[in-house]
């Protein structure tokens, strides 16, 4: 295992950025989100959760698919290039890494999404253990270990030093390229083990970590769908897209045309099942009330997705929706409401 002092991390970032793009948490006007590292970027690796999840690195909020350009009577079509250069995403937490695995199920199964696949192939994930998990975290509910993230490289911050452990071939290759900036530490394993134990002790005290998902699976579709509980739960919902846009697993997108004046840019952008035009078709919309839209989001994460993906939930317990919903609604409250009322018919 390797290590580097926290105050020397910019040397590591500079070294990585010499050969490839580096995404990491950057503070801008008081908020921390993943962005591309530059020499003057205000890097913040102490943050537990960025506002948006790092899924943008693989599935950007909006991306061009192709461009049509009109010259006189001739129309030419230019396809968007797929990602061809390697890049590094630094500091991803265990929940967000599982978020990417959820996206893999969607975009890497047939028909494969070539834009996403290219980014996954070229992306190297450097994970970071969660030093101080918070009361909004519930990753353990989904079998995620915040103390021991699994990616191309795993890192831990212990007493002002970052410990670095490559776990895959991609991780080894990255390590080889940057190891000049590292020192070796023979007692590192013991330090990391102690840190993991410390993190686990914190996790045990967090209120959401023991949430029960009993009854949430593909078989409970009818019972959950028809429950009168939704009618009560959705009422304060503003129908904004905050929960979906900060979520590491929400994967729905829309495809739209943007009139550039002398052509058309066909792009795709994240969509939100909270929005009134979500899955709008020629005949209209198949979910025409906010209750139905609200129900869709949770049914998808806790019932439809596991039904189609060997029981894998499409929630990873990052707790961003818990923190960011303007009306304090969230998936935890939904799970608890069903726990209390059993989803029984009134």
């Amino acid at each position: 295992m390797y290590k580097i002092a926290k105050e020397n991390l910019s040397a590591l970032f500079r070294k990585i950025a010499e050969s490839q793009e580096l995404y990491l948490p950057i503070e801008n006007c008081g908020q921390v989100n993943y962005g591309v590292w530059t020499e003057d970027a205000n890097v913040n690796i102490d943050i537990l959760k960025t506002v948006k999840s790092p899924k943008d690195a693989f599935f950007p909020q909006s991306e061009n698919l192709y461009t049509c350009v009109k010259e006189d009577k001739k129309i030419s079509i230019k396809a968007e290039q797929l990602k061809e250069q390697d890049f590094v995403v630094f500091g991803m937490k265990a929940c967000d890494i599982q978020g990417v695995e959820v996206l893999d199920k969607v975009f890497l199964s047939e028909p494969v999404d070539s834009f996403y696949k290219a980014r996954r192939e070229h992306g190297v994930i450097v994970a970071m253990a969660c030093g101080e998990p918070e009361e909004t975290c519930f990753c353990k509910v989904f079998g995620i270990d915040p103390a021991d993230p699994k990616a191309d490289v795993a890192t831990w911050i212990i007493d002002g030093e970052l410990f670095w452990k490559p776990l895959t071939d991609k991780g080894e290759a990255l390590t080889d390229a940057v190891k000049d900036v590292f020192a070796e530490d023979s007692s590192a394993d013991a330090k990391v083990e102690a840190k993991k134990e410390e993190i686990n002790k914190i996790t045990e005290q967090l209120p959401y970590m023991k949430l029960s998902l009993e009854g949430w699976n593909g078989d409970s579709l009818d019972e959950k769908f028809n429950s009168p509980v939704w009618e009560e739960l959705y009422k304060p919902c503003l129908a904004c897209g905050t929960c979906t846009f900060v979520c590491p697993t929400c994967q729905c997108y829309d495809i739209k045309d943007y009139d550039t004046g002398h052509g058309v840019q066909r792009y795709r952008c994240w969509d939100s099942c909270m929005y009134s035009d979500f899955t709008m078709m020629a005949h209209g919309n198949n979910r025409n009330s906010q209750m139905q839209r609200y129900r869709q989001r949770f049914m998808h994460k806790l019932v439809y997705f596991p039904a189609n993906n060997d029981g894998m939930y499409s929630c990873v317990g990052c707790g961003r929706c818990v923190e960011k919903c303007p009306q304090s609604l969230n998936i935890v409250k939904v799970i608890k409401a069903f726990e209390n009322q059993g989803g029984e018919k009134a």
Binding site: N28, C29, G30, Q31, N33, L48, V51, K52, Q61, S62, E132, P133, E134, E135, T136, I202, Q205, L206, P207, K235, P236, L238, A239, C240, G241, T242, T244, F245, V246, D254, K256, Y258, D259, Q265, Y267, C269, W270, D271, S272, Y275, S276, D277, M280, V322, K324, P326, Q327, S328, L329, V332, K333, K336
Partner: protein, 324 residues
């Protein structure tokens, strides 16, 4: 809070109101949500504390369509929004029983967390009855304290006053929380050069994720269908295609609510990216004050506001007037 609950139950029992619109306790010490209460037993979850920042006025648009009256709990600043909605014929006065609830400032959990306070187990000092000006926060990392005013929402620092502008009855005392000048921040931006102003707003708005929370929470944004939700509009309502679009949405919205915005501050409260959206609206309010005389939207129910009436003596601001 007990007085409020008792009165609400009484009005429900005697049939004066069919439902009560207030707040329901959450599962964390700081996350109550707006909720309806229809039965006596529902009130076990009723809460009214300093985390009940949500302005319930806009819910009355839908509640006005329901059978019977709705008892709605409005804080002093929320009553301005209700009056404005009345002026715009969006809510029905006869369908509302307004209980003006006392307020001593509302808290912003983000401001508490920004101070490095995390792993929160409980918070004391946030109850309406609490007199302390310090919050004591029990966390898994030990006990922390935070001054109440340091955790207050921006809007409370420029509070419009403790007077309810419309109500049927008032329950609870309110406290003046104003400790800053309402237009100070606007003046600071006005003093910038055009380049600095552009850089300031570009930087702030570059964080926008187009979640539309600011629009959806805004009591002045009560169009049945927003222009940005039109499938025929040559723009996207859910992504900023380029950096022009991320500014356009907010600037159009600010123009659209100009003269009607009461400065309730909900837009800035709900923004997940902490964009100070209220600054746009406040700039318009300042301009209106200067050009048409001091005007506070929602102070009273009005037929016409400064931007919706015309008088011969109206000012002619802008470059044409300056040229003469």
């Amino acid at each position: 809070m007990q007085e409020l609950i008792a009165r609400a139950k009484e009005l429900l029992a005697d049939g004066t109101v069919a439902r009560v619109l207030g707040w329901k306790a959450g599962d964390l010490p700081y996350n109550p949500e707006p909720a309806y209460f229809e039965k006596e037993e529902d009130f076990k979850d009723f809460v009214y504390n300093s985390f009940c920042g949500a302005n319930l006025s806009k819910f009355m648009i839908e509640a006005s369509k329901l059978e019977g009256k709705t008892l709605v709990c409005l804080k002093p600043c929320d009553t301005y929004s209700f009056n404005q909605l009345l002026s715009e014929h969006r809510v029905d006065r006869d369908k509302a029983y307004i209980v003006g609830v006392g307020c001593k400032g509302k808290l912003d959990i983000e401001k508490i967390k920004k101070q490095g306070i995390k792993g929160i187990k409980s918070i004391s000092g946030a109850e309406i009855s609490d007199e302390a000006d310090t919050l004591t926060i029990d966390t898994i990392y030990g006990e922390k304290t935070c001054a109440f005013s340091d955790a207050m929402l921006e809007r409370c620092h420029v509070c419009k006053g403790k007077e309810h502008k419309i109500y049927d009855e008032i329950i609870g005392e309110s406290k003046e929380t104003k400790d800053a000048e309402r237009f100070a921040e606007v003046e600071r931006i006005e003093a910038m050069s055009p380049e600095e102003k552009f850089a300031f707003f570009r930087k702030e708005l570059s964080k926008c994720i187009r979640c539309n929370a600011c629009r959806n929470v805004c009591p002045a944004c009560s169009c049945r269908k927003c222009v940005f939700d039109s499938t025929k509009f040559d723009s996207s309502q859910k992504a900023n295609v380029d950096s022009f679009e991320e500014k356009m949405f907010h600037i159009i919205r600010a123009f659209h609510v100009a003269g009607r915005c009461t400065d309730c501050g909900e837009c800035s409260r709900v923004c997940p990216q902490g964009i100070p959206l209220h600054l746009f609206n406040r700039k318009f309010i300042k301009e209106i004050d200067e050009l048409y005389g001091e005007y506070q939207a929602g102070e009273t129910v009005v037929e016409k506001g400064p931007l919706t009436s015309y008088t011969f003596d109206d000012v002619e601001p802008g470059i044409v007037a300056e040229r003469g």
